[in-house]
Point group: C2
Chain length 329, copies 2
Amino acid sequence: MRGKILNLLRSAGEKFISGEEIANTLGVSRTAIWKHIKDLRNAGYDIESQSRNGYRIASVPDRLLADEIKNNLSANIVGTEIYSFDKVDSTNEKAKEMARKENIPDGTVLVAEEQTGGKGRLQRSFFSPPDKGIWFSVVLRPDFLPQEAPKCTLMAAVAVAAAMRESGVECGIKWPNDILDTGHDNRKLTGILTEMSAEIDRINYVVIGIGINVNISLEEFPEDLREKAGSMLIAKGEKTLRVPFLQNILRHLDRLYLTVKEKGFAPIMEEWRKYSITLGQEINVIGVTTNEVYSGKAIDIDNDGALMVQVGEEIRKVVAGDVSIRPKK
Amino acid sequence: MRGKILNLLRSAGEKFISGEEIANTLGVSRTAIWKHIKDLRNAGYDIESQSRNGYRIASVPDRLLADEIKNNLSANIVGTEIYSFDKVDSTNEKAKEMARKENIPDGTVLVAEEQTGGKGRLQRSFFSPPDKGIWFSVVLRPDFLPQEAPKCTLMAAVAVAAAMRESGVECGIKWPNDILDTGHDNRKLTGILTEMSAEIDRINYVVIGIGINVNISLEEFPEDLREKAGSMLIAKGEKTLRVPFLQNILRHLDRLYLTVKEKGFAPIMEEWRKYSITLGQEINVIGVTTNEVYSGKAIDIDNDGALMVQVGEEIRKVVAGDVSIRPKK
């Protein structure tokens, strides 16, 4: 109902539309309309009212509200259901809980204005202050095998990098899924944490958590992050409207996920290569399970998303590990 | 404390031991001893008491009590912590919840006398009546990659098959993890359901759920299971004491898991081959994700646990699927 009222107000543009007209069009009482308008105002919509003329939207907030994000999204899978929260512990934790208990469908998106316990890889905490970033999770229920799930994280990186470039940020992907501001010392713009619950040959759900530093200035980062953290604000020198930017990410994710369902991950890897800043570089590798450290040249990724590294005569396949690009001498 | 009292009573054998002696040895009050004895009786221990002589164990119940299972187990990893329950929804669900919330360690075992919502693969319900089976889950926190986790299910099958043969059941493993009664029309003795929670390159936990039909007679199975279900009772024609049998499974699991940590899964695959009833047979395969159906000869498993099937000139690698052995003509 709220969405329908918003659509009516939106389509009226700058014109006022009377409560009676809204009530008649939607077949509910004027009192119900009045209550919904109140809710919308509480949610951050600036809705003007004039006793003779009715209502109009004075301004749409750049708040990450499900109704706003859904508007004109035309999602096939990713974004068909969207939940927005003011504050959560972590959108991944919330997503996993809802996936377990409420059976939310393939493509469900959860977004929060603030995370109080945002987490990155290896249980590291992830800085996610209110209103200045986009902290969200996407729940997927793919029918491919659990072994394929890690590639979802590369798919997510492609979606974010594509949307960032379209929004004017010079960026690239460092294998496997870091989005770096290539115009500003490769500062890190985004964190991605993919988790899954699976049986031996069947995925229950994959949760892709994505945290994007949007309108955070350098001074707003905690001191220990200031050296390496970046944001779209720092990259572009201006603020980004979050709702249309998130919509664009979701559209890319939707497109890529449909591609995976039809053709597998090979086209995703192809697109990943276009955004890569790792391939062709001399890199240092720290193996995650082995803790082995070595250097070599990143030459390609294979169709599993593994990084192929030339070490002397030998080509090593890096499935998991921390990779850093060696500064050019 | 209960475990200590049990050990004192056990070491006294058929002799009585006074409450005062127990209290002094353990440095607690006689009232405390009296309360613990009461608890032990409630848990199913038949403890005799004579006002002059004190206490002795008249009979130890064949109940799946943590204290009983721990007794003389000498676990390295699997079984170092054991939780027993009278009744749970499903030991896998309980194990996952405790792994999420209580950070239970690598090798923790959960066992229940009854599951009210036992589940098998593909969300099928799993018949798990009270007191006649062994329904348990093992929580592992291995440091190998998520891609390796499916092999845990083959490791579990080896442990169960080894313990079953030692207990006198003619049985073998049908790929990947069904334990069949080869003496009675390949009736199914055991269900194994392996689940995991993982990040892209790191396992949070693996839960191996194992359900074993121990002392269930054919008539006790629901009608729809009667054609294919088997039990150790049907296989051997006599009851099996559950505690020592479960202990033996846990010892095998502990041994195999230590081997994996030291040498990887190759030795497990070697042992799996010894118990296999699939290799060398003509089989039908239904691919799980593709639903493709075909026939061929099972020739081996590779070190990933995948089944190698010769189909005409071609060798296909079956990673996931339902396999049935074709009756010989």
